[in-house]
């Protein structure tokens, strides 16, 4: 049977965040990013070939 999707490498990571995620309440325009958080801890999960 012909495959409809080529094998993809699904990757995933986790951002270990300090503090709550701010609720999305404002739309209409595209806001400019204000402050950049310097210290971000991410845990990259191992990749796996996925079809």
């Amino acid at each position: 049977m012909e495959r409809t999707v080529k094998a993809n490498t699904i990757g995933s990571s986790t951002i270990k965040r300090n503090g709550a995620i701010v609720k999305g309440t404002k739309g209409k325009r595209i806001a400019h990013l204000s402050n950049l958080k310097e210290d971000v801890s991410i845990a990259a999960n191992r990749k796996k070939t996925h079809a």
Binding site: T4, V5, N8, T9, I10, G11, S12, S13, T14, I15, K16, R17, N18, G19, A20, I21, V22, K23, G24, T25, K26, G27, R29, I30, A31, H32, L33, S34, N35, L36, K37, E38, V40, I42, A44, N45, R46, K47, K48, H50, A51
Partner: protein, 277 residues
């Protein structure tokens, strides 16, 4: 060219004001110029007020003042006339601006079709592998559409989908690992400190911490309310954002905003993340 940009910015009324100021300056510099004197005489001919009538015996300061007043009167009249013509033209030629062309709307419908496939697979209780495949196709179609909006090839754009994990953690899922995953994570994490559902950073390298990053521009969209599902787009080329493509991005992503509210869709997205572990 710079002068063309300036002309576009100020338009015809700006040009008229420029001509008026230039004429006045020339008049002040060369007060005895015959050409300007003729202009002065001709302009005052239509004026009924004695003060505005040209008289040779008037002093140069008074004549300059009279000339300025005449230029202002004629200038304002001309400005009003031009604006009236422009207003009439706008009313006659007014068309509803279309963000998407006919071809683009076909592409949007195709995308809708892909989403329909995923939702139908849920209802048919299709095997997880099938649902997963359809979800991947849907993600790829989304990527393709955003690539088209920004006119970028595969190698110059990267995508990361994200949703809320445990303890305020943010889970990232991607079909291709971003070239600067740490930079990407910093941008996403920072965007989540703001209440806007769409956030952009058009000059990523201007940020001290990311001045060496291959990411040049960043834009993200997520749902309203508590984070359910978001999509971050990382552009590896400078100066891609324009007023028009950002407008189309807003239009296109208005559907993404709703995706996270579909629990089955979100559950399978999370499952996809776990399959990447």
């Amino acid at each position: 060219m710079a002068w063309k940009e300036k002309f576009k910015q100020f338009g015809l009324p700006g040009f008229i004001v420029f001509v008026i100021i230039s004429l006045f300056s020339i008049y002040l510099i060369t007060n005895n110029s015959e050409l300007l004197r003729d202009l002065h005489v001709k302009m005052s001919k239509f004026m009924t007020s004695d003060f505005l009538k040209y008289q040779n015996e008037k002093g140069p300061i008074l004549q300059a003042l009279q000339f300025t007043l005449l230029i202002l009167i004629y200038g304002l009249f001309l400005l009003g006339l031009v604006n009236a013509v422009l207003m009439v033209k706008n009313v006659i030629l007014k068309r509803t601006p279309s963000i998407i062309s006919h071809n683009d709307s076909e592409l949007y419908l195709e995308l809708e079709d892909k989403l329909g496939d995923v939702l139908a697979a849920f209802d048919q209780h299709s095997p997880l592998r099938v649902i997963d495949e359809k979800l991947t196709i849907f993600m790829m179609s989304h990527h393709a559409e955003i690539k088209r909006i920004f006119g970028l090839p595969e190698r110059q754009i990267e995508f990361v989908w994200y949703f809320q994990g445990k303890n305020n953690d943010v889970e990232l899922v991607y079909l291709k690992t971003p070239i600067d995953i740490e930079g990407a994570a910093k941008l996403i994490n920072s965007a989540l400190d703001m209440p806007y559902v769409r956030i952009q950073e058009p000059s990523v390298n201007n940020r001290m911490e990311l001045r060496e990053s291959p990411i040049k521009q960043f834009i993200t969209v997520r749902n309203y309310g508590n984070l359910k599902l978001g999509l971050a787009v990382f552009i590896l080329k400078e100066n891609i954002f324009t007023k028009d493509n950002l407008k189309e991005f807003i239009y296109f992503t208005s559907k993404i905003i709703l995706l996270g509210t579909n629990n089955r869709f979100l559950r399978h997205f999370k499952r996809k993340k776990n399959s990447g572990n």
